[in-house]
Each structure stands twice: as structure tokens, then as C-alpha cells.
Symmetry: D2
Subunit: 316 residues, 4 copies
């Protein structure tokens, strides 16, 4: 039956994969995030076989010793562990189930780890499709930006069959400092989306509050200090304060350059909105946060760090 | 000139008041918060002279040794330091400037400390009115509820002339664990209002996020843990989580009894809204938070802790 | 080439279909709306061949002379014009592209009209799938409820190839009073979704405004009259006023029974939200309207008319 | 008793005033709106005695025959009917109750009509203060802009004692096409504020909807036509459409010049917010509309017509 076959396959794949753990690892999607992640796999001694739609993205990795192939199917043909890092749901669908997709040539027992941030419903579809081919799919989106990707300090939130978590962890710990098991397939995405929705709410809320306090005559550093010792405290007030001059080493001190772009936050809030709509969950502040980041994109803030909402609200 | 007279008065009052620091202290407003605060002054050895519109509120304090008089003017006639703790702006206006108000009989050089949570514009008006009578007015609203008032663990946010802060601190430390100087008159209120606005935003945001995550299949305790180690972290997620079963010792574990009532939060958000409107400051999330707490009051949640917004959004 | 073949097919189908216009018409989806729509086709002399997942829904139509078959494929096998009226996007996908779906047996040149209210992106997918089989797909969602469906007074908003509009109109005029051509496939849905989003905003806005005015001492009938002669005028204020006693013959006069259910409005606002998210369009009020109807569903208002938002906001 | 004295005074004032109806009328506040209103009184043969804080504002009226005096008290000293048209609540308080205010020299039985748009609570305070001096205060805010003021086509919404309405009407019909009695003092303001709140909601809603529809492929003129024949219809869609090219003779066709400024709408929404806060009325969309207009002011839209929210949301 299905359970037996799953356990058997799990046994096979686990033993197979763990016996030769430094065999090739596939990597698909060599963008701003994917490239440093793949490099960290190389650094840890894994032979990497990679592909990307932009050939130029592959060069740097090739020079570091990675093997470059034409398409995802070729990657899956040669590696029984594959990591994907792609911009959005349609890319993931294409890379897994398209004409040259992973599932066209995936080996039985392969472990497929998707670190893209996408709709958890799509993750579930991919898991079903992978299972039909005898492969295991896990979602493992990250928190932390390009810096954390380079230094191997990402946090991975992992959804999927629990008995495969150890196998995934082996690879993910090469690229991240924290690897958290969240539950069934899709819950990694859910955790990521939930965190970022609350982050956006906290950031806009902190920006409104700081702006109001300043207009009421409070010194911004003092206000931040008071909030941070009180019940208004949040990550955006105590770690990533959006008001220029309150903290050092954050984008607000650098004209909102670097950091996590407004457009990316708008994308994640779009995912939160979609999952909330699909599950009929009321998210009034999350929804308004989404709209505010959309308005910012419409007003020229796409490329600035998402803490620039302070500037957007303050006027100038 | 005015500066000289202010300094002279300041000199007089400081020396006069500090020389005999355990002279009578006036206390006006013996409600849920005021009564335990006044008791703490008594415990610290201050003779208290008090009044309240409800005679029955005075009894308990009288039995503990306080002197009870008829009205605020009588209090001010006998004590040169007066603390007020009242429900809202109109009460403060009445108690200070009404026919039997403090300012009718206030002594020159008196220190008047208002711990009510009110519109900072009213605090400024009271300060101007007090100054005309040669008295000093400071706003010193508190954070912390009835429990903190009883145990003397309140936080005071103090606005007013800086050279009087030490004198205020002497009394406030009898009633609170933290006494923070915020700046000119009204900035104590501003800090309080700002904190509570961000608190409300964080609480509703946390409730939406937890509700969404649960519907997406995440275990609530695990989700809280993930948020608290990530950028979604806030006081409402890590200290006062609104989801029953996630934490112990918070109102969500006790059917949202006790804590900080929805109606009180709605009141504070109304103050935040009013100050934002008057200063033309956009506060989109703060404004929506206000509306949500108003809707909750309209749907029967007035008396429940403000974390019951989780229940309101979740449906049942 | 494709254009030539399209024109040729169009020529064939038009002549073929119009020559024998009272040949069988297929109808799939015999719910609250679909059943009276199908009856109106029968009344106008069209032989109807129908199916529904619930056999009991078919009985009444069978007694009126309709032929009942097992599944959508059978309908398409016998009729070259098919109307579908289904609850949501997944149903439409199943009925068109599922194992027993229309496209399994559709005849070349058939005209497929979908009157469901769904995501316009799904309409476009169905149109592409239909075109591959040589058939023409049009979206034609309706406005007007069960009453309008029974009396043949629906409004159809039609999207699709313009040269097929006349053929669609022939059938739709049997079921509706207005048939409006909106543009390419999906624009019928777009028009429907846009209208309902603005409707929801107007209804909540009218409810807030009436509630505020009443609390400020205005007579509700007088306030409605003033709004309706001023720039606050909208359909919800002048045709469907949500305040009991202001108008006759509307759900507010009948404890919000009948009319357009809150749950259905929440569904349409979900579609609006999804299309807005997908097109990165900021819709702050539409988004908040969606959230308010979701909160109402969570608080027991699902089955009441959507004008009951007045009651929800007013408290009771 | 009070009722008798009120009736007696009413009798006196009515007979006194109506017997000599073309005696002097006072006018205070000669801004963009006040000047053309005062001119219309002159045109109808009323001697006008006027004042304004800006002497230059008085010149034009003086040349047309009005008598100019130094301050509101002088106006009230010479005229027993006075109209005021001022920017905001503090101005009204100053003009009525300040050191040179109307009430310093008002005659018993005088009729004081305030056409400013202010907080209805302030109107009530002014009415109480006027009554103490034996005078009658009515609030009569207007709808319609500078154009309507010039052509005498304003709508007046009047609150106050009903038996004085006829006397007020005599003057107001010289300046407006509609004079509507709304109820007790303050209800004129309430009606104005309610209308403008719903207007703002309708305008933003129409802008979001049109923007969404256009992105979904609908022609804007066609979409407007569909909305206007459906339940999405509102004044902003059918009379003042915010999308350039849809209608002629509206600000959207003229780069949002002229019309009703975003800053003025933000002010009126601030009043709506304040009255809603004070009466604990939830106004979620009204509140968000206020925030959106505040954000627009912060982003440089203050001087553009309020329909420019379409441009703000659309991006450019």
C-alpha cells in the first residue's frame, strides 16, 4: 500500500542519499539569493550542478567549479538532491512541471527542496506532482536577505514529510544558521508569509507612531527608547528603526538603500492576501499594509528598503 | 522678567518643597487606578489629603489615615503638591479650572502632577492656566494596569519643565518602578498615546497573523516561536500572546478576563486619532486599529481584554 | 493561418448556428440562479439539454421538458451552444476541462457561454482551452439576483470575440433585460467584479455615514434625502438604503432577509482582491471592504443581505 | 420661565427683523467663499457691513458699497443679522467669543448664521453662548464651491431653532439655490460632514474601481457607463468622474485644477473623524479615506482637486 511504499522509498532514498552525502547537488535559480546559496554548497564540498534562464548568471558559478547544464530536467537527471530558488509561483510551476522541468527526468527517491517564497497552495501541488514521480518535495523559504545568503546565515522554514527533514537539514545548514521544521508541505511558506505580514504591519505601525510622536514634540531617539521598554516594542522599533538617526547600520541611516525592497515586501503581502482570501481569513491590517506598499510602489518607492514607509508617510 | 521670576519661583518651590518633603500630598481621583496609587503614597509616609466625586471611594483611604475634603480647591488649599488621576479630558478640565477646581485656591509654587491619560493639547492648556496662578503643571500618564498600580510598579511618562522633574520624581517613584522624562508639557501624554497606538497595531497584527497561520496548518505555539525568533516579533507575540494556549498567565488563557479592556484601548486610540488629526499626521494602521476596537465595542467586547481581538477575528 | 481559420470557423458557426437557432441549447448548473435562467430558455422555445451534480436539481426542469444527461461532456456532445452557471472558479475548471468536461466532446464551432462569476484569469484560460478544440468561449456574468433571474431581467456583461457577440446575445436576451458587450474575454468578469467592489464600498460608506448622522442627531429619512440631492448620493443611499425605515421594499425593511447575501459579497470582493493583487493595483477601500465582509461572516452575518453592515456597525 | 422668554424673544426678533428686512446685514469672513456670498447679498439690495482679518479682502466689497468696520464686535453693534464664513473652528470661536467678538456687542434678538464648516460641538457651544446674550445662533454650512458661491447656487444645510428658520431662509436664498432645514443646532454641520465623508469614500472607491477595471482591459468610458447603469453608480462615477477623458467639464479633464481641493477634503474628513471619535461611532472606510487624503497631502497633492486620488493610486 501507499504507506508501505512511502516508507520503503524513504528507506531507499535516505540510505542512498546519506551513504554518499557529498554526491552532486542540483541548484536551479542563480539570482541575487540563489547564487550565494549555491556558492555556500560548493564551499562545503558539494559538487554543484546548476542552471538558470540567464546564461550570464551561470558563469561565476562555473568558474568556481560548478557544472552548468541546459535546463532543470538535465539537473534532475544527474542529481538526486535539487534546491530551487525562484522569483515567484509561475516560475516554480514551470521549473518543476514544464516541458523541460525537473519532474520530466527526476529519479525515484530524489529530494527536491524549494526555497522560493510562493503561495503554499502551489507548494502542495508541486509535492503531489513530485510524489507521483516517486520524489519528495519540501518547501523551505528563507528569511534574511542577500547578506545572510552570502554569509550562510539564512533562516530556513521547512515544510514537508517529517522523516525527510534530516536529509534536507544536511544541505540547508550549509546555507543557513537556523533550519526550522514547520510541519506538512506548505507550512514553511505559511510561516514565512505570516512572519512577513506581521513584519510589514509592525514596520508601518512603527513609522506612523514615530512620525506622530515627533510631531507631538518627542525626540525620536527618546521615543524609540520608551517604546522599546514598553508594550509598543517590536522588531521594527528596536532592531530596524525606520527613522533616520535613531539607529546605526540600518537602511534608514543610508537613505533607505539596501535591505529588503518595498517591491519584495509588496509581493510577500500579496501572497499573504491571497492565502487569507482563499482561507476566508480576515486580515484587516495585513490587507491595508499590502495596499500601502502597493501605493508606495505606484509612487516610486519600489527599490527602496521597506522601512522607507516612514519617509512616505512623513512627506518632505 | 518672566525667566527670572520663573527661576526664582523654581528656587523657592524646590527649596520649599524639598526641605519638607513629607508634608501633605494632595490626591484627586480615587478610582481603580487612583486608589492604589494614593495608598502607595501613604505607605511611603506621605500624609495624603484626597477627594473624589464618589464619597464611597474615599472611605477606604480615610480608614488608612488620609484626610478627605470636599473638592479639588480644598485639596490645593492645603497641599502644595497634588496628584490627579482622572478618566478623561473633560474631568481634568473640571478638576483644574472648574468652579471648585484646583486653580481656584492653588498656592504659588505648587507642583501639580496629572497622571490621567488625556489629549496632550489639554495638558498644555492646563499648564498655561497653572502658570498664570504661579503653579507648575506636569503631565505624567502611566503604563501598567491596576496590578502595577497596587504593587507600585507603574511606568510614568513625564512631560513638563525639566528643572521640576526631580521634584515630581520624588513622589512618582513611590508609585512606580520607572519614571521617564519625555520633554516639554504634553510629551508624557504623547509618549503614552504613541506607545498604545503601536501596541494596538501589534496586537491586532499578531491576532491576524496567528489566525492566518493556524488556518494554513501551523501549530500556534510553533508559529509564535518562529515569529519571536524572527522579524515579526513584537510584545504582543512574545509577552502577551492573544491565542489561548500559547502562553500562560495572560488574559488569552483566561477567556480574556482581566488585563486592559477593549473599551480603554478604544479610548486611547481615540486620543491618538485626535492628536493625529490635529497635527495632520497620516496614521493609516492606527486609524484602522481604532475602528476595529470601536467595532468590537459595538459587538459586545467592551469589557474583555484587548487581546480578545483574536477571538473577534477568528469567529466562533 | 490562424486568423483565416478563425474567420472561416466563425463563418461556419454563425451560419450553422443562426440557420437553426431553435436547436438544442445546453445548460450546466441548475442552482438558485441557473434553474430560472434555464426555464426562461425553455419559455422562449429553445429545447434545453441540461445537467447538474445534484440529480434533484434536474427534476423540475425535466418536468418542464428539458432533457437531462449525465455530465457536461454529454451536453456538449448534443448541443453546439452551451450556457454554464456555476458557483466558483474550480467548478468552472472542472466542468470545462475535467474528465467529463465540456471540452472532451465539444463540437467544432460550438459557442460556450459562462455566466458564473469567477476570476477573469480563469475565463481567459478556458477561452484558450476552448479555442484549441475549435470552440468559442465567452464570459457573461450577471448582475441581479434570483428575482431578476426568474423574471428574465438580468444584466449580462459579456467578454469575448466581438463577432460572436450577436450569437451570444440571441440566447442571453431570453434571460436578461440588458446584454452589454465589454471587450475581450475576461472583461465581462472584470466589469462585474469592478461594479460589485464599488457597490460594497458604497454600501459600507452609506452605512457608516447614516450611523454617524443619526448619532449626531439627524433624522435618517432627512439625512438620506440630503445625501441623495448632494454629492454623497449613491445607489446604496438612494435605491437600497441600509437603514430600517428609510425606504420600503428593500432588505433593511425586512430584517435584512433576502437580497444579496454577505457571503456572496465577500466572495466577489475576494475575486476583486485577487485580480487587484495579480495586477498590482492598489485598492485600499475595496480591500478594507473585503475585510469587513469577512469579519461579518466570522460574526454570523453570512446569510443576511449585505446591507446588514449597517446593523453590524451600529451595534445592538 | 425660559420657554416663555424664548417665545417672547422670538416674537420680538421676528417682528422686529422681518418688518425691516432690508436693514443692514453683517458679514464676517471675506475669503474665496465669503466674498462672493456677501456680493450676492448686496445684489439683492441688502446693505452689508463687513469685516475680515485681511484688510485687502475688504476693498473689493467696499467698492461695491459695503461698509467696512474694524472687527466682529463692530459688525454686531450695527447689524442684527450677521453671517459668518470662516476657515475653521478656532476662527469661529475667536470671531464669536473673542475679545472683539460678536458676542461682546451683539443686540438682543439678533440672528447669527454661521456658514463655516466646523465641528458641530463648537456650533452647539456658540449657540449656548449666543443664547446667554439673548441672540440666536444657527449653523448653515454650504455645499458647492466658489463657482456656486458666485452664481448664488449654494446649498445651505441649516441647524437651529425651527421658528427662526424662515428668517434665516430669507437671507440664505440670496446666496443659495437650496436651503434645507436639518434640525437642532449642529445638525447642519452634521449633514455637511456626513455628505462629504460619503463623497470622499465614493470618490476613492470610484478611482480604485476605474483603475482596476482599466488594468483588467476595460475601456474607461465603457466601464463608467456600466457602473452608472448598475449598483456601483455614485455621484463620483456619473457626475464627477476622476478618470481623464471619461467626462467633460470636470477637474479630471483639466489636470485636476479647480474644483474641491484635496486639503479641504482632508479637513472635512478630519471633522468627520473627530465627531465619529467623540460619539464612538465606527467609520472604517471614512477613517481610511481620511488617511488617504492625508497621505496625498504629504505627497504634494494638497492643491489639486480631490478627484486626483485616481492619479495618486494609478502611479505615473
Amino acid at each position: 500500500n501507499q504507506l508501505a511504499s512511502r516508507k520503503f522509498r524513504s528507506f531507499l532514498s535516505n540510505s542512498g542519499r546519506s551513504m554518499a552525502s557529498k554526491t552532486q547537488v542540483g541548484f536551479i535559480g542563480l539570482g541575487n539569493m540563489g547564487k550565494p546559496m549555491a556558492k555556500n554548497l560548493l564551499k562545503h564540498g558539494y559538487p554543484v550542478i546548476a542552471t538558470d534562464v540567464f546564461p550570464e548568471s551561470c558563469k561565476e558559478l562555473q568558474e568556481l567549479g560548478a557544472q552548468i547544464v541546459d535546463n532543470p530536467a538535465e539537473v534532475a537527471d544527474q542529481a538526486d538532491r535539487v534546491v530551487t530558488m525562484l522569483p515567484s509561483s509561475p516560475n516554480v510551476i514551470e521549473v518543476y512541471t514544464g516541458p523541460n522541468g525537473i519532474l520530466k527526468k527526476v529519479k525515484k527517491g530524489s529530494l527536491l527542496i524549494d526555497s522560493s517564497t510562493i503561495d503554499p497552495a502551489v507548494s502542495k501541488e508541486m509535492a503531489v506532482a513530485a510524489e507521483k514521480m516517486g520524489a519528495v518535495f519540501m518547501d523551505a523559504p528563507v528569511s534574511g536577505g542577500v547578506g545572510a545568503a552570502s554569509s550562510g546565515k539564512l533562516t530556513f522554514m521547512v515544510g514537508g514529510v517529517e522523516e525527510e527533514f534530516t536529509a534536507a537539514q544536511e544541505l540547508l545548514t550549509c546555507m543557513g544558521a537556523n533550519v526550522v521544521y514547520c510541519g506538512a508541505v506548505g507550512t514553511g511558506q505559511a510561516a514565512k508569509i505570516c512572519n512577513n505580514m506581521l513584519l510589514a504591519i509592525g514596520m508601518i505601525g512603527t513609522s506612523e507612531t514615530m512620525n506622530l510622536g515627533i510631531r507631538l514634540g518627542l525626540d525620536p531617539k527618546l521615543l524609540a527608547k520608551i517604546l522599546n521598554m514598553s508594550s509598543g516594542r517590536c522588531w521594527s522599533s528596536d532592531t530596524y528603526n525606520p527613522v533616520p538617526g535613531v539607529m546605526e547600520g540600518v537602511p534608514s541611516g543610508n537613505n533607505y538603500q539596501g535591505g529588503f525592497g518595498t517591491q519584495l515586501m509588496a509581493k510577500d503581502l500579496g501572497l499573504a492576501q491571497t492565502t487569507a482570501t482563499n482561507t476566508k481569513t480576515p486580515v484587516p491590517l495585513g490587507s491595508l499594509a499590502h495596499q500601502i506598499y502597493r501605493m508606495m510602489c505606484a509612487r516610486g518607492y519600489s527599490g527602496k528598503d521597506f522601512s522607507s514607509v516612514f519617509q512616505f508617510l512623513q512627506g518632505a
